[in-house]
């Protein structure tokens, strides 16, 4: 396997590079060395454990929600009021599901875990620009998680993850601690964003120009911009909500003289850009996986890089599409609708570029690539249905129905989470030094893909038939689709459970991973698997772009694996 980068290992390490040097995992021992580490790789791993744990927790909430929606299948008319949970409990379950999944899982998922781990490696740096700040944002994340979970034990929250006023300023559930949790998590997100932007600007290896950056780095850059500029608005909003609840200050509650629609504006001014915090890193991951496994220069490098930034910018101007039915002016709605369509353009540029990259490529269908294909399929459906919702006249009917629920699950779960799991398969060998089981990887991907579509495509149908979201019960005519959806969710859960099993198996006795199992050209593949503590033996120097694979010889039909 040829390399385009010239290491300069003229140091004393060159001799000992045969394997004597400890890696980042065993360089220091003991729990304390982990708790006080400033190594971006260890922090990335710690975030990963946190994110996956919360993913499990949020998943359990989701399965409980779906199980309730089976309806009373055992005897009785399907109109029966309660069978598993009361309406109140149900409201808490879906709120916790949403809040955990959004704020503790998806937003930190790729940036905090894989971003932390791979950004400095891809840049050829020894660490992020501010390692101590990085450690601090990890603890801020943990603290925010504790606050959010604390609310479960003090009566939980039943407002939905959107915390809409005036309900959230009047309900008796423990909104304050949940909101403070999200407030704190926001600062973790902001600090990570600041750290990454500075790292990308200042820590690039010699020769690593902006147009030689791996696209994952570009995607992280755009993401970080949004994190820094949008999150503080969420913070202030939630702070005001907490003060409103405790002191009755009349900012959002009309009864006290405030304006509930202001809350919606504030909330979506953050939360729409936040959906790009969720999806842009996934775009970056997909660019990496598809290109490496097509063994071909990516189609439209600059278009992909720039469209990330374009999405980040336009994404700030479309929040009103969540408020078409809130009574905002018709002119505002029309403008927001138009801009929503505009943001779909850079998104489509990416999708077409990925497909064009695969066209004529020398495809290696490993499990990461399977997940990437699932992403393409699911994200396309999610994005297109977004356009339905961005159309004013259509959204009046679909708003607050299962159609919206299905839309955002197609993009968040089908998009971000599939990409995240795919990325784990792609980079697992580098992070842990072990290979994953390819066969079971594909099996799990199959279950995830099928389970996902069964779960959520039925929700599109439910939505168009008028099933409103966030209800513990429904009319009898909706039952069949609800039950199909629930069965799908079990398959989906099974898929992820399989992943968990073979990941643990890999840690115990997985095959040892080589330096560069997929033949990538970006810098993270230059170092050992797992990397040494200071990442590289000597300062790497870059002479080529990250995807300058040699011409594929199409005359040969049989292509070797690695």
């Amino acid at each position: 396997m040829e390399s385009n980068h010239n290491n300069v290992p003229q140091s004393a390490h060159a001799a000992s590079a045969g394997g004597a040097e400890p890696n980042y995992i065993n360089a220091h021992k003991g729990i304390w060395s982990w708790m006080t580490t400033v190594d971006h790789k260890r922090l990335g791993l710690m975030y990963l454990v946190g994110v996956l744990t919360f993913f499990g927790l949020g998943g359990i909430f989701a399965l409980l929600v779906r199980t309730q929606l089976l309806g009373p299948i055992f005897g009785g008319a399907s109109g029966k009021q309660e069978w598993l949970f009361s309406g109140d409990t149900y409201n808490k379950l879906f709120t916790l599901h949403g809040a955990v999944m959004v704020f503790l899982v998806i937003i930190p998922s790729i940036p905090a875990s894989l971003g932390n781990f791979f950004l400095p490696l891809m840049l050829g740096a020894k660490d992020v620009a501010f390692p101590k700040l990085n450690l601090m944002s990890f603890y801020v994340y943990v603290l925010g998680g504790i606050f959010l979970l604390f609310s479960i034990f003090t009566g939980a929250v039943d407002t939905g993850w959107t915390f809409y006023t005036p309900y959230s300023s009047t309900t008796s559930t423990s909104v304050v601690s949940a909101v403070m949790g999200v407030f704190i998590l926001g600062f973790s997100s902001i600090l990570t964003g600041v750290n990454f932007i500075v790292t990308i600007h200042k820590m690039r290896a010699p020769g690593l120009t902006w147009v030689r950056l791996p696209l994952f780095v570009w995607a992280q850059y755009a993401t970080s911009l949004i994190q820094v500029l949008a999150t503080p608005v969420l913070a202030i909003t939630l702070m005001l909500l907490a003060i409103e609840r405790t002191m009755g200050i009349g900012i959002f509650d009309a009864k006290l003289g405030g304006d509930p629609v202001l809350f919606q504006h504030f909330f979506w001014f953050y939360s729409h850009p936040a959906v790009y915090i969720m999806i842009l890193p996934a775009f970056g991951v997909i660019s990496e996986i598809i290109t490496i496994n097509s063994r071909k220069q990516i189609f439209g490098y600059k278009a992909i890089a720039m469209s990330s930034v374009a999405i980040a910018v336009i994404g700030f101007l479309v929040w009103g599409h969540h408020m078409f039915t809130s009574g905002q002016s018709e002119l505002a709605s029309a403008v927001f609708s138009f801009l929503t369509f505009a943001v779909a353009i850079p998104t489509a540029i990416k999708t077409f570029s990925w497909v064009a990259t695969m066209y004529g490529g020398s495809l290696r269908m490993n499990s990461a690539m399977w997940y990437a294909q699932a992403f393409l399929f699911l994200f396309t459906i999610g994005g297109l249905t977004g356009l339905f919702l961005g159309t004013l006249s259509v959204d009046i009917h679909l708003h607050d129905t299962y159609f919206v629920v299905a839309h955002f699950h197609y993009v968040m779960m089908g998009g971000t989470m599939t990409a995240f799991v795919g990325a784990l398969h792609h980079w697992w060998p580098k992070m842990t030094g072990r290979m994953l089981n390819e066969f079971w990887g594909k099996v799990s991907c199959f279950f995830v893909f099928v389970g996902f579509n069964v779960t959520f495509f039925s929700q599109f149908l439910l939505g168009t038939k008028g099933m409103p979201r966030r209800y513990a019960n429904y009319l009898p005519e909706f039952q069949t689709w609800h039950q199909i959806s629930t069965i799908g969710s079990y398959l989906l859960g099974l898929g992820f459970f399989i992943t968990l099993i073979y990941m643990i198996q890999s840690l115990i006795n997985g095959e040892k991973a080589p330096k560069n199992p997929w033949g990538g050209l970006s810098l993270e593949w230059e170092t050992d698997s797992p990397p040494i503590e200071h990442n590289f033996h000597g300062q790497p120097v870059v002479n080529n772009g990250p995807y300058e694979f040699p011409e594929i010889d199409h005359s040969k039909s049989n292509r070797g694996g690695h």
Binding site: Q10, S11, A12, H13, A125, K126, D127, V128, A129, F130, P131, L133, I190, G193, V194, N195, I197, V198, H201, K202, M203, V228, L229, A230, T231, P232, V233, A235, I236, T237, L240, I243, E244, M247, G248, I249, G250, I251, L256, G257, G258, D259, L262, F266, H534, F536, H537, G538, Q539
Partner: protein, 231 residues
């Protein structure tokens, strides 16, 4: 500064004293620190922008309230505080200058002066707040017009005076918190100056606290007319 930027390997640490291990040169370290701070300040501006938007909306809803209620704030104390903060920005800038010209005392005493001026600001704020508490001019549920009238304050204000005082307390309170944080950072600066940490080559930390302090000052420059000088 340039002579340090020789390439060092993972093994050979020919780093200058203040250079963290993951940076190659002082220049890289300093410019990283500064860029990080500017981004953080961008974040601060957006944080406060939410509060300013809240202000604009409330003032649109209740113009009469704002006109009447601002009379209950003491513009003279507000102006005094403006002078304090503006002067403190000057002393802060002089402290940074002190680092650039390698003058230990200039750094030290200007930071002391900045802390004192920040403290004076907080004392005046305390006086203002305690008057408001005494008169029941408080946010939301705690607003007590009867108590104010009893104390001879003309609190029979049209519209939603509770909202005005909520906004007053939230905005000045959040700002005051930032002043306190800034003072805390400066106490730490004093320790580091005494320790001899800063010189013309290495003072990005000092400079960053300075930038932070200027933005806190700037926010007050907007708060003062918006709250005290309503027309």
């Amino acid at each position: 500064m340039g002579q340090q930027s020789s390439h060092s390997t993972a093994a050979g640490h020919n780093h200058p004293k203040y250079l963290a291990h993951h940076f190659e040169s002082m220049e890289q370290q300093n410019s990283s620190g500064k860029l990080g701070m500017w981004l953080f300040l961008g974040q601060e501006v957006l944080f406060f922008s939410g509060l300013f938007l809240m202000y604009v909306l409330a003032r649109m809803f209740y113009p009469d309230t704002f006109l009447a209620a601002h009379e209950l704030l003491d513009w003279k104390l507000g102006a005094l505080n403006t002078i304090f903060l503006l002067t403190s920005s000057l002393t802060m800038a002089l402290a940074v200058r002190g680092a650039q010209v390698n003058s230990q005392p200039q750094m030290y005493w200007n930071i002391v002066a900045t802390i004192v001026l920040g403290g004076a600001f907080m004392v005046v704020k305390y006086i203002e707040y305690s008057h408001k508490f005494h008169d029941g001019l408080l946010p939301g549920h705690f607003f007590d017009a009867a108590k104010a009238m009893h104390n001879g304050v003309p609190a029979n204000i049209p519209g939603a005076p509770a909202v005005f005082f909520a906004i007053y307390f939230i905005m000045t309170g959040t700002h005051g918190l930032h002043v306190l944080i800034g003072m805390g950072l400066m106490l730490w600066l004093l320790v580091r100056i005494k320790r001899g940490d800063f010189n013309s080559e290495n003072h990005v930390y000092l400079e960053n606290v300075g930038l932070y302090w200027h933005i806190v000052d700037l926010i007050w420059i907007f708060l003062f007319p918006l709250l005290y000088l309503v027309r």
